[in-house]
């Protein structure tokens, strides 16, 4: 196997937000850095290219954030979604450091914009990237190039070679060519394993083969698996992934944000057999979209069907594909491949259980059904005004929880102690903090904070 020319101070595995933050930080501290991005240039940036914001603590208004968002409130929000499955000291570290990250990001080319239309609820807590995550990724790659960082695309790391408490080199396939990369320090920022359907199927069961992967097809967890096989300490439930309900017609990979469907609270959702299975109006959509992936995944064939009538069709964000449309419930069911009689029965039962009252799409209006086994507790409007519209729902996997356990210096450990020249950042270690659920924009916070820590520690190590 040939050697990559030269010895780098730092080799960074991965090419998304965390990898770039680590590389830039280390290069600014004087280290020579090589980035090994597994994807081709057009798809560089991992899942970061699909992100849109950064959850940021702040004591007062700070562009683009309004009001203030302090440590305790931030931690409470995290505790709520993770149900306590977090390492509190690491979580506090991420939260506290986030405030400092915002100006750092701007200094390195990231630009922000006011909260997007339809996301006003996030204007206080989340700083939106102008142009989204790919614009952020582009800015960081330009900064990296200006700092003299070497960037290799289509560079897939197969093995991280450990001798005792040190990593000596990486075995990499660069554009089909096997190479050895030597460096004095290493940062692993190569994401989770959600794009490896075999792995998902082993963890979740064969149903996982019907899941759609919302992000990059390049996060196959090769490096994570390799490290776990070598006894690196892990964190996070290996059988779990974060999945949301998305448009069933989305591409298998990389559908990203546009495949979301915000129609569920104003719909009834039936399964393959035409039956409802969960309260569609339990809470506002930003608080419920995350559980619907799991709900749909538990249905036969891992599919659901959201049905709405023309009263509700303009109450949610536009969908990437047009809805299926028909003048009758039976016609809609037929077009969607459902049993018209079963759907008719479900709709009739639902309509009969609706009660009159004020309907408020933007708040919990308490307009609930009465007497149904599966109630709808808000926005329960009968489906009666044609034309009727339907969307197919499937689980879309965003990320996986299993990762490498790190300490406050982002260092990777084995049961016998830390690996002296190895750090991890981003999705590959996010399970340390995000043990369950998801908090919008927190993945980018973890990536930025721990990317910078890893870069700083690695640079100090080689200095």
């Amino acid at each position: 196997m040939k050697d990559w020319p030269g010895l780098f101070d730092l080799a960074v595995v991965g090419g998304g937000n965390a990898a770039l933050c680590a590389a830039i930080t280390a290069a600014k501290a004087g280290a020579s850095v090589l980035i090994l991005e597994g994807a081709p240039r057009a798809y560089r940036g991992g899942n970061s290219r699909h992100t849109r914001n950064f959850r940021c603590m702040h004591q007062g208004p700070m562009f683009p954030l309004t009001g203030r968002y302090e440590e305790d409130e931030y931690l409470d929000d995290l505790m709520l979604v993770t149900k306590g499955k977090t390492d509190e000291s690491l979580a506090r570290l991420a939260i506290r450091s986030s405030e400092d990250c915002l100006p750092w990001m701007m200094d390195h080319g990231v630009r922000f914009q006011p909260s997007l239309s339809g996301t006003l609820s996030l204007s206080r807590t989340n700083a939106f990237f102008l142009g989204g995550g790919k614009a952020l990724v582009n800015a960081y790659y330009n900064t990296a190039a200006d700092l003299g960082i070497k960037i290799a695309y289509e560079a897939q790391v197969q093995h991280v070679h450990r001798e005792g408490d040190r990593i000596t080199h990486l075995e990499v396939v660069v554009a089909g060519q096997p190479l050895t990369v030597k460096a004095r320090a290493f940062v692993l920022a190569s994401g989770g394993f959600q794009a490896d359907l075999d792995w998902l199927a082993r963890a979740w069961g064969p149903a996982a083969r019907n899941f759609l992967i919302r992000g990059t097809p390049y996060n196959r967890g090769v490096v994570l698996r390799d490290m776990l096989d070598q006894g690196a300490e892990s964190v996070g439930d290996p059988t779990q992934c974060h999945a949301v309900a998305i448009d069933g017609r989305a591409p298998k990979y990389d559908g990203g944000i546009v495949t979301r469907l915000d129609c569920v609270p104003f719909s009834i959702v039936v399964n393959r057999d035409g039956d409802r299975f969960y309260d569609e109006g339990e809470d506002v959509w930003p608080k419920r979209y995350a559980i619907w992936g799991r709900l749909v995944a538990a249905q036969p064939d891992q599919v659901g069907y959201a049905l709405i009538d023309s009263k509700s069709v303009d109450l949610f964000m536009p969908s990437v594909f047009p809805a299926v449309k028909a003048d009758t419930i039976e016609g809609l069911a037929q077009e969607m491949g459902l049993d018209p009689k079963a759907v008719r029965r479900t709709v009739d039962l639902f309509n009969a259980a609706c009660r009159p009252g004020p309907f408020h799409p933007t708040e919990l209006d308490g307009l609930r059904t009465e007497g149904l086994k599966v109630p709808k507790t808000n926005w329960a409007w009968p489906l009666e005004t044609p034309p009727f519209y339907g969307y197919q729902l499937r689980p879309g996997v965003t990320f996986t929880y299993l990762g490498l356990k790190v300490d406050a210096r982002a260092q990777v450990h084995t049961p016998t102690g830390p690996i002296r020249n190895l750090w991890a950042a981003g999705e590959i270690m996010a399970g340390s903090i995000l043990g369950q659920g998801y908090l919008a924009g927190f993945g980018m916070t973890i990536g930025t904070v721990f990317g910078r820590i890893a870069g700083k520690e690695a640079a100090a190590h080689v200095a």
Binding site: R111, L130, V258
Partner: protein, 359 residues
Amino acid sequence: MSLDLTPGAEARRQIEICNACRYCEGFCAVFPAMTRNKAFADGDLTQLANLCHNCRGCYYACQYTEPHEFALNIPAALAEVRVESWERLARPQAFARVFQTQGVAMAGLLVVALAWFFWALTLWRPETGAGFYAHLAHNTLVMIFLPAFVLPLALVALSVRDYWREVGGGRVRLAHLLRAFDQAARMKNLSGGHGEGCNFEEGDRFTHRRRIYHQLMMYGFLLCFAATASGTVMHYALGWEAPYPLLSLPKLFGVPGGLMMVAGALGLGVLKLRADPALGAARVWGGEMAFILLLGGVALTGLALYAATGTGLVGPLLATHLATVMVLFLLMPFSKMVHGFFRLAALVAEAGKGNPLRK
């Protein structure tokens, strides 16, 4: 992308995907305008297309560009619709089709104009007159250029009226005009939203070059226009005939204006060579480049004419300068020149509709 799609159908496909994302909202006026609709009528697309300044920020930021199967290229899709709208709303349409696309056609017309002016200069040489009026009398010049300026302008006015109907523009108020002129004066939609300019000649890096060269060209052109206007006033109102000295309004406007246009044309031409043609309306690249060269040619020959005062070159340079000006005027409704009128109309219409994000 299949080739049988009309520009409108392809733009609609792309905009409907784009509208489900909205990450680019802060770049320019197009994206806030997009949020008004879920479905896009032809007029909506025409308006979005003419609002787009082709800054390309949204292309480089897009997760869905090729090789992604959604194959979004919003700057190119809107550029195609934009050019198509100029061609469709022009009269006669065939002229617009030829001159928007073919730089060669423009060059051909220039050759004809050149020949004609050389011939005219020998034929109509006046008995008396100073400066270039020794070559062509003032009244002859007015007789030639007044219709060549007014008739194309009238055609443009008809096109803009049709545009206004197509996009559903409402009653124009002073505030809308002020807002639109302010945006054009600062070329706000090439600021990138963050004030760092646009993506053009350096891929996904932002620079101000295109904005600067465009404004050099635009303000240079306006200064030259002011030079001509002031000369007209001096001639008719004050009875002060050309040639004018350096310290007179026509020269004080015209010389800096001409220099700015030359610099602007050079800059815009070089940037155009370096930018990716696939992010614009590739089929009109030649027509656009010819238009830049023509503007540069108008300014350069004007300056040369001034520099040649009192020499034997005045005759041929006058014919050349007048020919370039004539072609520029005649092609106003049929060349990239028309973009200024449509763009301004789009900005006024947009000001009238109000920012949907600030409701």
